[in-house]
């Protein structure tokens, strides 16, 4: 099927794709941080309230979106400093290592993986562990992990669950299953569903039936029966 719109996928690892809608939405997520120096007249912009001429005093806590944090982050000119959001911290990482399948990743920030990958851009001593946790949580590794866990771990642990649920639920209400997945996993789930649906549709013989295109149906042309009388 020729598509009119080819979506640009999210970026690789620590890089973002400029044109990717997923990346744009993901970089809107907020990070906790602190202003290292006084920021004149930016109080309203950063949500601190007050009049239009107030400045943000030094050391005050801010919630900054990722795109702003990346732009202002510079180890030489200390404008802001960022901290890790709590789901990437030690406590949550042990939860992921225990069992990554029970965590509701959608509530934790719908872009857990992408955001976690972007966090690695800020040099933070726990970076390798975060990276490992995200990966392992996805796949559920059997490798002995001495360090407190890391991002690929989450991916690996949840992979099985996503694969089984996407390939086995045909024509059922999947909203309960999908509610706990973050955006990246949802895209994967939909791919699995599509594979299954295509196969079932073929097997029923619908693949060779001619159906009206959805574009034409949306024109809302009046049917023949309505024209008479």
């Amino acid at each position: 099927m020729a598509e009119a719109y080819f979506p640009v996928g999210p970026g690789l690892g620590m890089e973002e794709n400029f044109l990717s809608l997923d990346d744009i939405l993901m970089s809107q997520e907020k990070l906790p941080g602190r202003a290292e120096s006084a920021l004149p007249r930016l109080a309203v912009l950063l949500g601190q309230g007050g009049g239009s001429a107030e400045s943000v005093p030094e050391g005050s806590k801010l919630e900054i979106p990722l795109w702003l944090a990346k732009g202002l982050h510079d180890s030489k000119r200390r404008i802001i400093s960022v901290e890790l959001p709590k789901i990437y911290k030690e406590a949550w990482r042990t939860v992921f290592s225990a069992d990554a399948n029970v965590v509701d990743l959608h509530k934790m920030g719908p872009y857990y993986y992408g955001f976690g990958s972007q966090l690695l851009n800020f040099e933070h001593p726990e970076n390798p562990e975060i990276a490992q946790t995200i990966l392992q949580a996805r796949g559920g590794s059997v490798l002995p992990v001495n360090d407190p866990v890391c991002s690929p771990q989450t991916f690996i642990a949840r992979f099985r669950r996503i694969m089984d649920s996407s390939q086995n639920s045909y024509n059922e209400d999947t909203s309960a299953l999908v509610a706990r997945l973050d955006e990246l996993e949802r895209a994967l789930f939909q791919v699995g569903q599509k594979g299954l649906n295509d196969f079932q549709c073929w097997e029923k013989g619908q693949a060779s039936q001619i159906t009206a295109s959805s574009l034409v149906q949306n024109y809302g042309k009046r049917k023949l029966t309505e024209v008479d009388g």
Partner: protein, 185 residues
């Protein structure tokens, strides 16, 4: 690749029919077919067989593997083994669907055959998922699976390649300091 495309490829397989008309050899681009004599079996590709059957010009003879005993054996062996058993035809799923939809009157015990083939398919897909899971879990570099048919690969393939893509992206995070400064666009 869509299932319809895989079915298209499957229609090139040869199957035996018994025509009720006569015709000399016909020369097609892909090769010669015929001659057709009433009552004498001849081998033709599936697409022609289905077409003739729909026009009631022939009778289909089921392939020798499409038999309840044989399929039961295959199904049991599939359940016993951990690896994939070689299938009697690389397009068993498509051929079953086509022949049982259009020529079920020529095939004895068609419903049982349908059930058996579906069971075998389910077992094989489950094995495929299991091996994909262990592949991801152990973060292997490559895997080799023998005796898979195109339809199975097609159904499970897109999901697996996308998941492995994501894993690769996440794994590049583990190597800091390798930031590439080039953009694709």
């Amino acid at each position: 690749m869509e299932p319809a495309e895989v079915e298209f490829l499957a229609e090139k397989e040869l199957v035996t029919i018994v025509p009720n008309f006569s015709l000399d050899r016909i020369h097609l681009i892909g090769g010669d077919l015929g001659p057709f004599n009433p009552g004498l079996p001849v081998e033709v590709p599936v697409w022609l067989a289905i077409n003739l059957k729909q026009r009631q010009k022939c009778r289909l003879i089921p392939p020798e593997w499409m038999d309840v005993g044989k399929l039961e054996e295959i199904r049991d062996q599939e359940r016993k083994e951990d690896t994939f058993t070689p299938m009697p035809s690389p397009y068993y799923m498509e051929l079953t669907k086509l022949l049982l939809n259009y020529a079920s009157d020529n095939i004895p015990r068609a419903d049982e055959i349908r059930t058996l083939v579906k069971d075998t398919w389910d077992t094989r897909m489950a094995k495929l998922r299991l091996s994909a899971d262990s592949f991801v879990r152990q973060q292997e570099a490559h895997a080799k699976l023998d005796n898979l048919t195109l339809m199975e690969i097609n159904t499970a393939g897109t999901f697996l390649t996308q998941a492995l893509d994501h894993m690769y992206k996440l794994r590049t995070n583990l190597q800091p300091g390798e930031s590439s400064h080039s953009q694709d666009f």
